[in-house]
């Protein structure tokens, strides 16, 4: 394999990893607070690409207006899912919550099929992003560079929000101890809703860029990336935002490299993440950055 080709694969891996990281953060934040796998997160991501599709292709709104609009809509959708499917079950056994999450995911997928049809649609990526540039001998889409940059900006914003603002402090407090936080006067429901909104917003950022990178959208497109990103969150240590980012990059780069170096295994690409998950869970169940917690009896 030549260096050029390797670099091309690496840049692909990094941009895929960035997308995984953006989606994985949503999982990890929700898990940190509610101890719940938000199964609907992958579908919220899918809805974001549909919102963008309708904004640009159907309503012909320029992309710089559509994209912020998509972020807002998706955040609202995430909060809506939380209010309908999870909030009524705050005190229910965890298994009910998980089933409700699966139901919500299933519902969003089927609703999309009914409303928008099951036929894949071409994503109308603005030309600005999909132009190809020559770097030496390698031809790379501009997007491949934009994705990591946007991801880093989003992560910086997130870091500021969580570490420097009052809302962020409330989020950290709730994820540390739900009940004590409530005693301290933190509005739990508002904080949780905000967390869902924030996670969904990042998923929307990922979704828009995903749509431009893999310009074909369909109602079930969120399922496999959703599962993979949850796995990325687990690999990094669930509940830990930096961990989710690391996990996302490991998964994204690993997947691309697997296909690049072992082309025979291309068909097994989707199984790679699960194998990695099971290996991690067996050797270090709390993930790379996760802390070991002892169970109190």
């Amino acid at each position: 394999m030549t260096l050029d080709l390797f670099l091309q694969h690496l840049s692909n891996g990094i941009s895929l990893g960035s997308l995984y990281a953006l989606i994985a953060i949503g999982y990890t934040m929700v898990y940190g607070i509610l101890r719940l796998i938000n199964f609907a997160h992958g579908d919220i991501f899918m809805m974001a690409t549909y919102f963008a599709f309708f904004g640009i292709a159907t309503f012909q709104i320029p992309w710089f207006i559509t994209f912020p609009l998509v972020l807002v809509l998706t955040a609202a959708l995430g909060m809506g899912v939380e209010a309908v499917a999870y909030r009524p079950l705050r005190d229910a056994p965890k298994i009910s919550l998980l089933i409700s999450a699966i139901g919500a995911s299933f519902f969003l997928e089927n609703l999309t099929i009914v409303l928008f049809g099951g036929v894949p649609k071409p994503f109308p990526a603005p030309k600005l992003f999909t132009d190809v540039v020559q770097v030496g001998t390698v031809a790379i889409q501009k997007l491949t560079f934009y994705i990591p940059v946007v991801t880093i900006l989003a992560l910086l914003g997130l870091g500021y929000l969580i570490n420097r603002t009052k809302t962020g402090m409330a989020m950290r407090a709730v994820s540390m101890d739900y009940e004590t936080a409530q005693v301290m006067g933190i509005n739990i429901n508002r904080t949780i809703a905000f967390t869902f909104g924030l996670g969904s917003l990042l998923a929307a950022v990922g979704g828009i860029m995903w749509g431009m990178k893999f310009p074909q959208i369909q109602p079930l497109m969120g399922v496999i990336p959703g599962l993979k990103c949850f796995i990325a969150a687990v690999i990094g240590g669930i509940g830990n935002i930096a961990g989710a980012v690391i996990g996302g990059f490991i998964l994204g780069i690993g997947e691309i490299m697997l296909v690049a170096f072992l082309p025979n295994l291309t068909g097994y690409r989707d199984a790679f993440a699960f194998v990695l998950l099971i290996l991690i869970l067996m050797s270090k169940p709390t993930g790379i950055l996760g802390e070991k917690t002892a169970e109190k009896v």
């Binding site: 298994i95 089927n110 099951g118 068909g267």
Partner: protein, 361 residues
């Protein structure tokens, strides 16, 4: 009246009625209805086996579709005549011993169950160390891996093309017989000391362990038995439908079975049976949602997929407002049925009617 004798008589009568009905259905009802009845019974098997793991042992496992796939492919490969196999494996020929083997249906089903159980046993070792949603995602992952492997092993499973022309050996007797067998086996298991240990694990793992219950052993037992019946159910389904492909056994399938388990009540075998019938029949009845409805003066356009929307909404509705399902954790019993409000009211009505007619009792 002696309750035990009465219940025994009622059970015998019910079984005889069921057998009579099956005979009638087998000979006189049209194929569409027979097929739905078959699907009901198979879903009942799948629901009960999933309930053993999820409802009785409290292990939230989402790997059911994987075990079904193993069972369905095994039964199909073992029962398909060699000539048909030669015909459908045109991309890559079927592996050596498999292309000639042809077993009797019951034997093939049994082998399918065993193979699914072996797969379950292999998966159990790493997976059952996990709890809660980690377990859920890991089992889901394993099911997905099984599916990906099946898509890629061209010379065994015929890859994404799937299998066609599987002999239609599943009939009402096999599906209902297996369902009854499953019920009897799982019931005896649950009422044994093993079953009580499983329930103890569900209620509180740490307490159960400190009472001397071997967690790993019991969890594996439940998981393997669940996988066995999932495999058998998958086998029955494959030979009923006639065609299978890896796509069929996606996580959607697991969620369908999950809906049955939740609706029937986590921890109630009879609940799973009842809800398997309700869900399957409702699925057929709701078919009108996918088609256009003509009200004479206005035509409501049906939308393909509407059925699934209603279904997923139903799943959420059940969990949000009706968490214990139809049966909760109780099983069907004649005592309960006869003591129920409807039954008492019917009897009271009946008595009143008799009195009005002047019949003295």
């Amino acid at each position: 009246m002696e309750n035990k004798t009465r219940n025994w008589i009622l059970t015998t009568v019910a079984v005889l009625l069921l057998v009579g009905f099956l005979y009638f259905a087998d000979n006189y009802l049209d194929l569409y209805i027979v097929r739905i009845l078959n699907v009901c019974a198979i879903y009942a098997i799948l629901g009960m086996s999933m309930n053993l793991v999820n409802g009785f042992t409290g292990l939230f496992s989402l790997g059911h579709a994987g075990f079904m796939a193993v069972g369905a492919y095994t039964t199909a490969l073992l029962t398909m005549p060699p000539a048909v196999k030669k015909q459908i494996y045109y991309l890559a020929p079927l592996m050596k011993p498999l292309d000639q083997i042809n077993l009797a249906f019951p034997l093939a089903l049994f082998v399918a169950g065993l193979l699914a159980a072996v797969v379950g046993g292999l998966i159990a070792a790493p997976v059952l160390r996990l709890k809660g949603d980690y377990l859920a995602i890991a089992t889901l992952g394993f099911a997905e891996i099984i599916r990906v492997v099946f898509t890629n092993t061209q010379s065994i499973t015929n890859g994404a093309l799937g299998l066609k022309g599987i002999p239609a050996l599943t009939n009402l007797w096999w599906s209902f017989g297996t369902a009854a067998f499953t019920l009897v086996v799982l019931r005896s298991l649950i009422n044994s000391s093993y079953g009580r240990a499983l329930k103890a694990i569900r209620e509180d793992e740490i307490a159960a362990e400190s009472m001397g219950i071997n967690l790993a052993k019991h969890k594996t037992l439940s998981f393997v038995i669940g996988a066995f019946f999932a495999g058998v159910g998958g086998g029955l389904l494959g030979n009923l439908l006639g065609t299978i492909d890896p796509k069929m056994f996606s996580s959607m399938f697991t969620f369908n079975i999950l809906l049955i388990v939740v609706l029937g009540g986590m921890g109630s075998l009879t609940g799973s049976i009842i809800s398997a019938f309700i869900v399957t029949i409702a699925n057929e009845v709701l078919r009108f949602l996918d088609e256009s409805i003509n009200l004479g003066f206005v035509v409501i356009q049906g939308k393909v997929g509407m059925r699934s929307v209603v279904f997923s909404a139903l799943l959420m509705f059940v969990v949000l407002f009706y968490r214990h399902g139809l049966m909760g954790e109780t099983e069907f019993s004649w005592d309960r049925l006869l003591a129920s409000k409807i039954c008492r009211r019917t009897r009271a009505l009946f008595r009143k009617n008799l009195q009005q007619r002047g019949v003295d009792r």
